[in-house]
C-alpha cells in the first residue's frame, strides 16, 4: 500500500472505531487513541527511510481518479518539506493523547475521536498534491479543532472556537474561488502539472490576474500563519483551547499556512510573490517585534506562548520572502523547531495547569523547589525557544537571519531585535514561575513529573537536542526541495522586470 495513504487510513480508521467505542469507558477511548496514534507514528518512521534525499520532486506518489467531472484526483505524495511536517504531526499526536490522559475526563470518547480526525486532516494537508484534495483536507482539519476548542476549552472557549472557525473560513473561501479559477484556466487540479505548465510557459497569467490569485491564496495562508495583523484569532484560540488543542494548533496547524505559502503560493505565482515580498516582509517584521513586545507584558502563560508564536512565525515568513536558499531552508527548519519547542512549551504549561488550575504567572513562584525535574524540562524548552546554540531554534533562526541579511541587511537587524526580546520574555517568565519565594501551597501540592509525563516530555527534549546538534539529519532533504522551489520562483522574473518601469512611471505621476 502507498505509504502516505496508509498514514491517512490508519488514523481515519482509528477515528471511525473510536466513534463506536462505549461512552461509559473513557479508558478504552484513551488507550485506543494512544495505540492508533503510536502505530501511525511507527509507520510514519518508514517515510524518511523510503524517501530518496537526492531527488527534489514529489515522492511515494499515488494518483488515482476520484471524481470524473471535474477531473479531481486522489493524488498524494511527499516532498522534502511535507515529509517532515507529516512526521511532526504523527510525532505530536501520541504526545497529545498522553497530555490529555488525566485532564480530559468529560466526554473523553469524542475528544479522542476528534484528535484522530484532526491528525487525518493535518497529514492530508501536507501530502495532498491535488489542489482540490488539499482544500478538502484544509477544511476538514478545521472541524475537529473547532470542537476541541469549543467543548473542552476554558471559560471563553465558545467565542474562541467560533472566531477561529470564521477567520479560517473567510480566508479559505477565496482560496476556493482561486482554485476553481485555476482549474478553469488550466483544466487540472494537479499541483505538479500546474507547476510544469507554468514552467514550460504553456500557462501564463496576466500580471493583475496573477496578483489577485496570489492574494486569494495568500490571505487564506496568512490567516492561518498568522501574519500580523490577521493574528487576532490566535491568542484567543490558544488560550482557550485544552492543552492538546493548543499543542496541535501551535505546532502543526500554524504550519499549514507557512507550508501553503512555500508549497503553493510561490511556485504557482512567482512574480506576484516577488512583487508583494517587500510588503509581506514588513508585516512579518512587525509581527516579530510586536509579538515579542506583547509577550513581554502578558500575565497569562498561555497568552505569552501564543504571542511568542506570532513572533516566531514572523521569522518563518521572513525566511520565505527573502527568496534565498538559506532563508527557505531556515524557514522550513524553523517551522519544525517551532513545532517541537512551542509544542513542548504548551505541554509544560498544561502540566502546570493540571497541578494548580491557573494560567496566571502571578499564581506561581518557586516551582523549581517543589518540582525540580519539571523545572529542568521547562528550562531546556525555554532555552531552545530563545535560540541557544546546540538547541534546535538556533539553527533555524540563524539560517533565516542569514538569508534575510543576504536579501536586505536591514531586515536581519530588525529580526534580530525579536531574538533579543524573546530571550527577555522567556527568561523573565521562567524566573517568575520557577524561582522566587515558594509558598506552602506550591511546596506541598505541586508534585514532580510522573511516569506518563516523563514519557511525553523526554521525546520532545530529545528532539530539541537532536535538531540542534545534528541538523544534517533533516536539512538535506529540505534543501533539495527548497532549491527547486527557488528555481521555480525565478521563472517569470523577466516579466517582473518589464513591469517595474511601468509602476515607477505610475508612481512618478
Amino acid at each position: 500500500m502507498n505509504l502516505p495513504t496508509l498514514l491517512l487510513v490508519l488514523p481515519a480508521v482509528g477515528f471511525l472505531i473510536a466513534l463506536l467505542l462505549p461512552r461509559s469507558s473513557p479508558h478504552a477511548s484513551r488507550t485506543w487513541a494512544l495505540v492508533i496514534s503510536l502505530a501511525t507514528f511507527a509507520v510514519s518512521l518508514a517515510l524518511p527511510a523510503m524517501f530518496d534525499r537526492n531527488t527534489a520532486g514529489e515522492q511515494l506518489a499515488l494518483n488515482v481518479p476520484w471524481i470524473t467531472t471535474p477531473d479531481i484526483h486522489y493524488y498524494v505524495a511527499v516532498d522534502g518539506i511535507g515529509l517532515w511536517l507529516v512526521l511532526l504531526s504523527t510525532f505530536l499526536t501520541p504526545i497529545c493523547v498522553l497530555i490529555s490522559w488525566r485532564s480530559i475526563q468529560n466526554r473523553a470518547k469524542e475528544f479522542y475521536a476528534f484528535l484522530l480526525l484532526l491528525e487525518v486532516g493535518l497529514i492530508g494537508v501536507f501530502i495532498a498534491q491535488d489542489l482540490f484534495l488539499f482544500y478538502v483536507f484544509w477544511e476538514i482539519s478545521l472541524v475537529p479543532m473547532y470542537f476541541l476548542v469549543g467543548i473542552w476549552g476554558h471559560e471563553r472557549r465558545i467565542y474562541a472556537a467560533v472566531k477561529f472557525f470564521l477567520f479560517t473560513m473567510a480566508g479559505s473561501v477565496l482560496m476556493l474561488a482561486a482554485i476553481i479559477y485555476l482549474y478553469n484556466r488550466a483544466g487540472t487540479f494537479s499541483y505538479p502539472a500546474l507547476v510544469e505548465m507554468l514552467q514550460s510557459g504553456r500557462l501564463a497569467f496576466a500580471p493583475n490576474e496573477q496578483l489577485l490569485l496570489f492574494l486569494a491564496f495568500f490571505l487564506a495562508f496568512a490567516i492561518k500563519v498568522p501574519l500580523f495583523p490577521l493574528h487576532t484569532w490566535l491568542p484567543d484560540a490558544h488560550v482557550e483551547a485544552p492543552t492538546a488543542g493548543s499543542v496541535m494548533l501551535a505546532s502543526v496547524m500554524l504550519k499549514m499556512g507557512t507550508y501553503g505559502i512555500l508549497h503553493f503560493c510561490l511556485p504557482l505565482f512567482p512574480s506576484a510573490s516577488r512583487t508583494c515580498a517587500p510588503w509581506i516582509v514588513v508585516l512579518a517584521l512587525i509581527g516579530i517585534i510586536y509579538g515579542a513586545l506583547v509577550s513581554l507584558v502578558q500575565p497569562n502563560m498561555k497568552k505569552l506562548a501564543a504571542y511568542s508564536s506570532v513572533s516566531h512565525l514572523g521569522f518563518v515568513v521572513l525566511g520565505i520572502f527573502s527568496f534565498t536558499q538559506l532563508g527557505f531552508d531556515g524557514a522550513v527548519y524553523q517551522m519544525l523547531n517551532h513545532g517541537i519547542s512551542t509544542g513542548a512549551l504548551f505541554a509544560l504549561v498544561g502540566l502546570l495547569y493540571e497541578r494548580r488550575h491557573s494560567l496566571e504567572i502571578a499564581d506561581y513562584g518557586g516551582v523549581a523547589t517543589a518540582a525540580p525535574w519539571l523545572s529542568t524540562a521547562f528550562l531546556i524548552t525555554t532555552l531552545a525557544s530563545i535560540g541557544l546554540p546546540a538547541l534546535n531554534n538556533f539553527v533555524g533562526e540563524f539560517l533565516v537571519l542569514q538569508g534575510a541579511a543576504l536579501a536586505n541587511f536591514k531586515w536581519a537587524i530588525y529580526a534580530a531585535i525579536g531574538v533579543i526580546l524573546s530571550a527577555c520574555y522567556m527568561l523573565w517568565l521562567y524566573q517568575r514561575v520557577f524561582y522566587g519565594e515558594v509558598n506552602e501551597e506550591i511546596r506541598s501540592h505541586l508534585p514532580d513529573l510522573n511516569l506518563r509525563e516523563w514519557a511525553l516530555v523526554v521525546p520532545l527534549i530529545a528532539m530539541m537536542v537532536w535538531m540542534g546538534v545534528y541538523s544534517q539529519s533533516f536539512l538535506p532533504a529540505v534543501g533539495k526541495t527548497t532549491a527547486r522551489v527557488l528555481s521555480q520562483t525565478q521563472v517569470n522574473v523577466p516579466f517582473q522586470v518589464q513591469a517595474r518601469p511601468q509602476t515607477e512611471v505610475a508612481r512618478a505621476r
Partner: protein
C-alpha cells in the same frame, strides 16, 4: 373499437407517476373510515408505498424517454431527476411525520393524501413541456401545500401561515399566468420548444411583450423558490407551518419550481438570455445576502432555517445566472444535496419540538450532544453540509455552482457568493455550539428516544449527504447528461 385507439400506452407510461400518486391520494381519503379504526400508522405505510411505487414508475418511464400527449409532457433525464427528487422528499417527509402527527393528535388520512397530491403536482411541473401544463402542476402542488401549511387547524400560527401562504401564493401564480397569456398572445403557442422557435425564427414577436412576459413569470417563479425580492413570505410561513410540512415546503415545491425555472428560462427564453441575466444576477446576490444576514440574528430555529433556505435559493440562482449546461447540472446536484440536508435538519427540529411545537428556539437544542448523541451527530452532518464543509453534499453543490459561475466569467458573483457562505457559517455554528457546548435544556432533557421512522428520517438523509459529498460523480454524471434541455 380497441382501447388502444384512445389510449396511447407509451404516453400513459410516461405519465404513470402522476397517475399513481393521484389515485393513491384519492384512495387514502376513501379508505379513511376503514383504516382509521385499525391502525393510524396504516396511512403512513400506505403513502410510503405509493411514493415508492411512483418513484419506481418514474425510473421505469425513463427507460423509454420522449414526449407524451402531443408534446405536452416530456420525460427526459431532467424531468426524471426532479421527479425522483420530489418523490424522495415526500418519503423523507412522511417518515418523521408518524411521531409528529401522533404527538399533535392529528393522525388523519388528509395529511398523506394532500402530500401525495402536492407531489403529483410537482412531478407534473418537472415533466411539463408546455406553459399550461406547468401552470396546472404549479396549482396542484400549491393548493395542496396551502392546506398542508394550515393542517393543524387549531393552531393559530399554522392558520396565519396558511393564510399568508395562500394569499401571496395565489397572487404570485396570477403573475405567472399573466405572463403565460402574454406569451400566448405574442407567439400563438404555449409549447416551450415552439416559443423558442418563434423567438429565433424569421419574424420574432415584439421583444417588449416577451420581456414583460418573462418578467411576470420571473415574479411568479421567484416567489415559489423564495428568491429575493419575493422572499418575504418564507420566514412567516415556514415558522408557522407544522415542522414536517415546513421541511417539505423548503425542499419539494422549491425543487420543482426551480425545475420549471430552468426549463422555461433555459429553453423558451434562451434567445433573450442577455436581457434576463442581469435580473437573475441581482436576485441571486440579494437572496444570498438577505438570507444569510437575516439568519444571523434569528432565535427561532425554523425561522433561521427559513432564511437559510432563502440564501440557498440564492446559490441556485447563481447557477441559473451562469446559463450554461454546467450551471443547470450544478443546480440539479445542489437541489438534491439541499433536499437531503434541509429535510434532515427539519426532521431533528420536528423531533425536538415537543407537543404543540413548544421548543423551537436555538437554545432549546442545548446539550443535545450529551442527551442524544446520534441525533446531534446527524444534525451536525446536516449543518456542516449547509455550511459547505468538504466531504458533504453541500460543499460539492456549492463548488459546482461557483465553478459554473466562474466558467461563465461571473467573477464578482462568485466572490460575493463565497464570502456569503463564510457569513452563513456563523449561524449554523451557533446551533453546533448550543448542541455540544451548552448544558442540556428542558427540551433535550425531555426528548423522547428516536423512533424507527425518525431514525430512518435522519440516517437516510445523512447517508445521502455524505454519499453526495464523497462520491458526487454518481449523481453529477447523471445531471451532466440530462442538463442540456431540448430547445
Amino acid at each position: 373499437m380497441p382501447v388502444s385507439n384512445f389510449v396511447n400506452w407509451a404516453d400513459m407510461i410516461r405519465f404513470l407517476p402522476e397517475i399513481i400518486l393521484t389515485i393513491m391520494g384519492t384512495a387514502l381519503m376513501v379508505l379513511d373510515p376503514v383504516l382509521h379504526r385499525r391502525s393510524s400508522n396504516a396511512f403512513g405505510h400506505l403513502s410510503i408505498l405509493s411514493l415508492a411505487a411512483a418513484m419506481a414508475a418514474s425510473v421505469f418511464a425513463y427507460s423509454d424517454p420522449g414526449t407524451a400527449f402531443g408534446g405536452m409532457l416530456v420525460v427526459d433525464g431532467f424531468a426524471t431527476f426532479f421527479r425522483v427528487l420530489v418523490i424522495g422528499v415526500g418519503i423523507l417527509t412522511v417518515l418523521p411525520s408518524y411521531r409528529f402527527l401522533h404527538r399533535q393528535g392529528a393522525e388523519t388520512s388528509e395529511f398523506h393524501a394532500l402530500l401525495l397530491y402536492s407531489i403529483a403536482g410537482q412531478c407534473l411541473m418537472a415533466s411539463a413541456n408546455e406553459l399550461i401544463m406547468i401552470f396546472l402542476g404549479l396549482e396542484i402542488s400549491s393548493i395542496a401545500s396551502y392546506i398542508l401549511a394550515g393542517y393543524l387547524r387549531d393552531d393559530k400560527r399554522a392558520n396565519e401561515s396558511a393564510l399568508k401562504y395562500f394569499l401571496l401564493g395565489s397572487f404570485a401564480t396570477g403573475f405567472f399566468l399573466y405572463g403565460v397569456a402574454f406569451i400566448y398572445g405574442s407567439t400563438g403557442t404555449v409549447n416551450l420548444s415552439a416559443v423558442h422557435a418563434a423567438l429565433t425564427g424569421p419574424n420574432p414577436p415584439s421583444l417588449v411583450l416577451i420581456g414583460v412576459a418573462a418578467a411576470l413569470m420571473f415574479v411568479g417563479l421567484g416567489f415559489k423558490v423564495s428568491a429575493s425580492p419575493f422572499q418575504i413570505w418564507a420566514p412567516d410561513v415556514y415558522q408557522g407551518a407544522p415542522t414536517p410540512v415546513t421541511a417539505f415546503l423548503s425542499a419539494g415545491p422549491k425543487a420543482a419550481a426551480f425545475a420549471v425555472f430552468f426549463r422555461i428560462f433555459m429553453t423558451a427564453f434562451a434567445p433573450i438570455a442577455n436581457g434576463w441575466e442581469p435580473l437573475v444576477w441581482i436576485s441571486a446576490l440579494l437572496s444570498m445576502t438577505i438570507g444569510n444576514f437575516a439568519a444571523l440574528t434569528q432565535a427561532n430555529v425554523k425561522r433561521l432555517l427559513a432564511y437559510s433556505s432563502i440564501a440557498h435559493a440564492g446559490y441556485v440562482m447563481v447557477a441559473l445566472t451562469a446559463r450554461s449546461d454546467v450551471g443547470t447540472a450544478a443546480a440539479m446536484f445542489y437541489l438534491a444535496a439541499y433536499a437531503f440536508m434541509n429535510i434532515g435538519a427539519f426532521a431533528v427540529v420536528s423531533h425536538l419540538s415537543g407537543k404543540g411545537e413548544r421548543y423551537q428556539n436555538v437554545d432549546d437544542f442545548g446539550g443535545l450532544g450529551q442527551k442524544q448523541p446520534l441525533t446531534a451527530a446527524m444534525l451536525s452532518i446536516f449543518l456542516l453540509s449547509l455550511i459547505g464543509v468538504p466531504l458533504t453534499g453541500g460543499f460539492f453543490g456549492k463548488f459546482y455552482i461557483f465553478k459554473a459561475a466562474l466558467e461563465s466569467h461571473l467573477v464578482w458573483l462568485t466572490v460575493l457568493g463565497l464570502l456569503n457562505s463564510a457569513v452563513a457559517a456563523y449561524y449554523y455554528l451557533r446551533l453546533l455550539v448550543v448542541m455540544y457546548m451548552r448544558e442540556p435544556s428542558e427540551a433535550t432533557t425531555n426528548a423522547e428516544p428516536l423512533s424507527l421512522g425518525l431514525s430512518a428520517a435522519l440516517i437516510l438523509p445523512a447517508l445521502g449527504t455524505l454519499v453526495l459529498g464523497i462520491f458526487p460523480s454518481w449523481v453529477l454524471d447523471f445531471a451532466g447528461k440530462s442538463s442540456s434541455l431540448i430547445k
